[in-house]
């Protein structure tokens, strides 16, 4: 590439002076390239899957179809977390607010719900995609969230960038997928409802065991360690039931479309017009005396 650059400079700028400049530039390019290569870790490549890799997928359990979760209320009531005493008081206060009709909105800002909410709180459907070296979980929840679980034998990065869903690696233990997740943003909630939850505050580690317990019944057995807010690891199981009805196929699910009503802008173009909400997030229609959108 450096030689090609020098050649282009030489041919596009005839004359002795230009040739000198081209030589200087070529030398500088080589020096920068050499020092850069010396300071970099060799690139790790994801190998192209072989026909054998693709064929191996056929021996995995059949998780195709669309998986509908049980009610989150059932999930968290069956397996409540054990909060640290000071955090338990905060949880009680949030429950009181919710009961009084002033729920704290955990997910009203449309940031990704993150882990473990991705698995515990979703009320929308989920699907699992198997490809060589990876399981991908797609969720319809509030913006079509997704998780990538690497099953190619890699470990976690030494210093992962913190993200809402964290960094997940997994392996197959018989017919069960065992997933280990770290690197979750500390602001991500540990939720027991859509209005009651506490930020994990960091250093959260989640181990999941996903497996079939019936032909159309999948469970996610989770153990959640959040040492800053939990007094003990939170063991919680979410149940999913399978449907193969085509009408249940996962669809687009934007997070904030409901904050608007379809109308016309000043130029007469189709446009989303913002609508009023209560402080808790309930949409309101304009009074009947106002013009229709």
């Amino acid at each position: 590439m450096g030689a090609a650059l020098a050649e282009r400079l030489r041919t596009s700028a005839p004359g002795a002076l230009s040739r000198v400049w081209a030589a200087w530039l070529f030398a500088a390019f080589c020096l920068v390239g050499a020092s850069g290569a010396a300071g970099q870790t060799p690139a790790v490549l994801n190998p192209a899957p072989t026909p054998t890799d693709w064929a191996a997928l056929g021996r995995l359990p059949d998780w195709s179809g669309v998986w509908i979760p049980e009610s989150w209320a059932v999930t968290t009531a069956r397996h409540p977390p054990t909060w640290k005493p000071d955090v338990a008081k905060q949880v009680d206060d949030l429950k009181a607010l919710e009961k009084a009709g002033h729920p704290k909105g955990l997910f009203v800002d449309c940031l990704p719900e993150g882990m473990p909410s991705f698995m515990i709180m979703t009320i929308a459907s989920t699907e699992f995609l198997f490809t060589p070296g990876r399981v991908t979980i797609l969720n319809e929840f509030d913006g079509n969230r997704q998780r990538r679980i690497y099953t190619d034998g890699r470990g976690h990065p030494d210093d992962p960038d913190l993200t809402f869903n964290g960094h997940s690696v997994g392996h197959w233990d018989g017919d069960a997928l065992v997933v280990d997740t770290v690197g979750i943003l500390p602001e991500t909630y540990l939720p027991i409802s859509q209005a009651v939850g506490i930020p994990n505050d960091g250093d959260t580690h989640i181990v999941e065991r996903l497996h079939l317990v019936g032909p159309d019944h999948l469970v996610d057995d989770m153990t959640i360690e959040a040492p800053h807010v939990l007094a003990a690891p939170w063991k919680v199981t979410r149940n999913f039931s399978r449907t193969r009805e085509r009408r249940s196929d996962i669809v687009e699910a934007s997070c904030r479309q409901g904050d608007f009503v379809e109308g016309k802008d000043a130029q007469g173009h189709a446009a989303f017009l913002p609508i009023e909400h209560t402080a808790e997030g309930a949409p309101l229609a304009p009074p009947q005396t106002e013009a229709k959108p």
Partner: protein
């Protein structure tokens, strides 16, 4: 190590945000602002059926006798078009001009909003609800 805002800077930013920021996004919210112990029936005409995420919404022009039942109501369905489809709804389940009676849990603060429990189309008698999605296997833990 992640950088953290100092307390004074965080307080200053919060103050600035409260002064100039647009209203926050609402999106996916709890339904606790609706009173589950109160069931109100509102009759009227569908003005808009918004087939939107995360919750579909009906604007209903009420035609009741009582004063509070003659305004425009915003009736929120408790879930998304994806889940509603799994329950048998479509974007055509309701259309502008349909005469309906809606049973709803109203907002606790008295404003004209509610969470849909049941809608009856008066011209056909069809009844639609929006609770549950699909049965989870019975042998759950």
């Amino acid at each position: 190590m992640r950088s953290q805002l100092t307390a004074p800077l965080a307080a200053a930013l919060l103050f600035a945000a409260s002064a100039v920021a647009p209203p926050p996004a609402e999106a996916h919210h709890s339904f606790a602002m609706y009173d589950p112990d109160k069931l109100l029936t509102v009759t009227g005409t569908v003005q808009i059926f918004e087939w939107t995420n995360p919750h579909a919404v009906i604007w209903l022009v009420a035609s009741g006798q009582a004063e509070q039942l003659t305004d425009r109501w915003s009736v929120e369905l408790p879930t998304s078009p994806g889940n509603l489809t799994r329950m048998g709804w479509t974007k055509h389940s309701l259309k502008t001009g349909d005469r309906v009676t809606i049973a709803l849990n109203p907002l606790r603060d008295g404003r004209h909003g509610g969470s849909l429990k049941k809608v009856t189309l008066l011209d056909t008698g069809q009844v639609l609800t929006a609770s549950g999605t699909a049965p989870v296997a019975s042998n759950v833990k």
